[in-house]
Symmetry: C2
């Protein structure tokens, strides 16, 4: 990171709060010598996890004491009205006032989206923010969005999701990341009207590497770097995938303990099986981006480990390095100067 | 089966045609001594697979020669206009004229739905047919519908899907099968409006064992006997599940051959692993019901084996034994006499 950038961490968010968020933040400071971190939360809960470390990061680590925190099951509307002194609110506020360039929270998704949208607003040219995460595939990972911020989407929104994630994604090759639209068939005539229309918008934009429709099974085979869909379908696909993986893991565990032979076999295979489980573990891709806001906001899984939360912070670091919000806005400005393609649909 | 019932088999459907459909039909005749079967298709392609068996089922097995067949990639509209002499068309026609009580095809789904809908029509009180299949779960299986016949659904349609599948499902207990609505959260206030409205309709019907919203991950954990959703989401969930299972199987195979130790372990575990793979193999639940038509129509996977196709035929046999279309219609008639609950939404 060129100059000194700052991250605001909602230290109270998640199932475990400071016990996870503080050590993860210290790890990040160790790895990124130019980075600053502000831990937002209850001073007396944060302090025990800082120990002597605070001294060693002098000038790079500070605590912003907050009286409140947002509960994991709190309704977004209630958080918006009643939690203006919360660690989540204050972390986003630091992005709003320019003190921090990104905010990371393991708190409740709905509240984080509502508070971020309220304080930061959307980028010019973006209708609504979307939630984007990576899912493990047999070739590595695929970016999937939206995951639930928008239950129904227009063709224009789907187009915006593709554009934003194309800029956010780290492409494994030198080409622009490939984008597929989630559909129930790969034929051009099949699917909901907004998806057919979005396909036309994507085809008309040479800056997006659009590869056509993909089906649910393609999501985990890695045929596209990015898969775009409405938030309802994306949420169903993500959770279904997690459910099947959990079911197979459970059955596998049961199978491995079934007989003496199987138990012996399992013992021999342990290192190999462990690598397999790590490979499909969603935790290694922890960190969902709230794309389309006037600032970088990343949501960590609520149950993340120290290592997992640090992965989510890394997602924020990459987006800050890219100046992602500026990048998206300028790409959109170019587009609207170039053509009126957006107004067609 | 009490008296002599008859099944019409589209012998030409699927990736392999008579090579699969004829031996599977013969197996069914062996298992159900009161059942009759009409094989619809090209006489000269069917004959080689009949051999001496035809004699032994004298009076219970006949061949209806058809000049045409529907291609696996044929557009439904084209099949509807140009394939009235096809094995698929004729098999459905036998149900229409009362010669057969059910039709089973491994042919293309869109064409089968279009041809069935055109010839048989929908049951009184049903807006549109839905496609319903079973998916393997860690506890057994769950019925999932719709799988793609209806990309968008009203609350009334979702209610009808629940009602039809409740009657079609074989419940593992003496209770009515439990029904969940697929949603992106379990809270009553979350989700698309048609889903929230469908929940009210289901709650108001004491004949349906409605248990509330379920998320994608619950689909494969088996918390509900039946999961109801629109055809787009159902298709995404089904294919995503298949995709994850395939990815994990592939990675597992790779893992097991990685090292000498792992290979030895895999050898010891082979019987246990084989049982696991069978347990999650969707082929064991082959046979998707086209619910809501004036007749029983079951779709087999196109690539099904003899054993797999026979499973689809068994689904048809069960629905014929139940007189499922009559059962659905009379339940709906009772409802509309009892109350005006349907007109509220």
């Amino acid at each position: 990171m060129a100059d000194s950038r700052c991250l605001a961490i909602d230290a109270m968010g998640g199932d475990f709060g400071p016990r996870i968020t503080v050590p993860a933040s210290l790890d990040i400071l160790r790895q990124h010598p130019y980075l600053k971190v502000v831990l937002c939360g209850d001073q007396k809960h944060i302090q025990p996890f800082l120990n002597a470390d605070k001294e060693s990061f002098a000038g790079r680590l500070s605590v912003l004491h907050c009286e409140q925190s947002v509960a994991m099951d709190e309704k977004p509307g209630s958080a918006l009205r009643n939690k203006r002194e919360s660690s989540m609110w204050k972390a986003v506020a630091l992005v709003k006032d320019g003190t921090a360039q990104a905010c990371v929270s393991a708190g409740n998704t709905g509240a984080l989206m509502a508070i971020s949208l309220f304080q930061l607003g959307t980028l010019s040219g973006i209708s609504r923010p979307a939630i984007c995460t990576r899912v493990p595939t047999s070739r590595g990972y695929t970016y999937l969005l939206d995951l639930g911020a928008n239950l129904e989407c227009t063709s224009r929104q789907l187009y915006e999701f593709a554009l934003m994630s194309s800029l956010a994604a780290i492409s494994p090759s030198t080409n622009a990341p490939s984008v597929g639209l989630l559909n129930i068939g790969v034929e051009a005539i099949k699917g909901r009207q907004e998806i057919l229309d979005a396909a036309e918008l994507l085809q008309a934009d040479p800056s997006i590497n659009y590869i056509g429709f993909v089906e649910g099974d393609a999501l985990f085979s890695g045929v596209a770097d990015i898969v775009v869909c409405d938030g309802f379908s994306g949420n169903v696909a993500l959770k279904t995938g997690e459910g099947v993986a959990k079911m197979i893991q459970g059955l596998l565990r049961q199978t491995l303990s079934e007989s003496l032979l199987a138990r012996l076999g399992a013992l021999l295979m342990k290192p190999a099986l462990k690598r397999l489980i790590n490979q499909v573990d969603p935790a290694q891709y922890n960190g969902a981006s709230l794309l389309g806001l006037r600032g970088v906001v990343v949501k960590s899984h609520g149950g993340a480990s120290v290592e997992g939360f640090a992965k989510a912070v890394e997602v924020a670091v990459v987006e800050v390095e890219k100046d992602l919000p500026i990048l998206i806005e300028s790409r959109l400005a170019d587009k609207s100067n170039q053509s009126e393609v957006f107004d067609e649909k």
